[in-house]
Symmetry: C2
Subunit: 212 residues, 2 copies
């Protein structure tokens, strides 16, 4: 494929997608704090500035990372032909699963809108499906935005707690009786098991927006 005659097993052909995937891998491995454009360039086997030939700014690269995360949802295999409720639950459950698989990258996803064509097409298709199910488009948009806010907020909160648990686990000693109520309740509930409950409750509460 390459014009050069080198063996070059360590120098793949660069492209925006390839670089964005490599950036995500680097973030997964070492955390967002340690990520840098320079480290990415050398990790790719090129000079430290290599990524700049494809992404003029770090922000643009992070847009690509967010798009890569979105693609991991695999939106084409969603149950588009089923009930709106099952579609929305599956979509956002997948989004949560993807984000929790990449705890170091959740903030990258949460701090920018994903405007890739895949993301826009999926958004349009979701609105169409909800409209066909009886939601006026503005209400359908509100449903999707609410579910997205819950999902992203949840993934971010869980990731923050899981990543922080290793480093600074300064949970205060259960001394005061007041603290015990919170501590005991926390010990009895997994850190992430409220998502299914919350998403179901949210959609229950929003179902009445059909034909309003």
């Amino acid at each position: 494929m390459t014009a050069s005659g080198r063996p070059a097993p360590s120098r793949p052909t660069l492209s925006r997608d390839y670089i964005a995937d490599a950036a995500l891998s680097l973030i997964d491995a070492d955390g967002l704090r340690k990520f840098s454009m320079r480290r990415l360039g050398t990790a790719l086997g090129f000079d430290p500035m290599a990524a700049y030939r494809y992404f003029p700014h770090q922000e643009d690269l992070f847009d690509g990372v967010a798009a890569a995360l979105f693609n991991e949802i695999d939106p084409d295999t969603l149950p588009w032909d089923g009930a709106w409720r099952a579609l929305v639950e599956e979509y956002f459950t997948r989004l949560r699963d993807v984000l929790l698989r990449h705890p170091h990258a959740v903030t990258v996803f949460a701090t920018r809108p994903v405007r890739s064509t895949a993301a826009i097409d999926t958004g349009v298709r979701m609105l169409e499906r909800l409209r066909d199910a009886g939601f006026p488009p503005p209400q359908a948009l509100r449903v999707v935005r609410c579910a997205r806010d819950l999902t992203v907020g949840h993934a971010l909160g869980v990731s923050v707690l899981r990543l922080g648990a290793a480093s600074r686990s300064r949970r205060p000693a259960a001394s005061s009786p007041e603290y015990n109520l919170l501590a005991e309740a926390a010990d009895d509930t997994d850190i992430d098991d409220h998502f299914v409950l919350g998403l179901a409750a949210l959609l229950d509460g929003l179902a009445h927006l059909v034909r309003t």
Copy 2:
């Protein structure tokens, strides 16, 4: 109050709270990207390393900024004696309002748990109130976590869009008919008006957890 006899109108007494408030002001004014420990020190009128005498790491300072944001909720004036539903709605509505007043600081709040005594006391009080209203404490904790996830996710999403709207407003031209459904729906809905709807729906859907 100070031991020195200087006029010193520009050199206030430093303290952790004072520095955290100053850091929040600096973030509000110039954005999180431009914030630095050095800029904070000089903004306070001291040497660039001044903040390190009170916060050993930037992370600790950001914990203080998050605690300052929490205090802006003014939890003591919440309707603690009213219905659980009104209490939870007011609490998270205030949290949203605080965060939207500080769009540059939302990520600081969203990326760490607030473990100040004020935050813990408020959390315990909220659980007590929900328990008295009939929620078993683990379910009460799930209710609070769901509402927090929705609120933080919402504030983050809205802040990101508002801050990004000025700089890179690359919304594609409404060319394709497919795009129009999303664009038209977006034009007809404010970027943040789904929060009241979503929080109400969520709490509607969770109310059945009482006495389960």
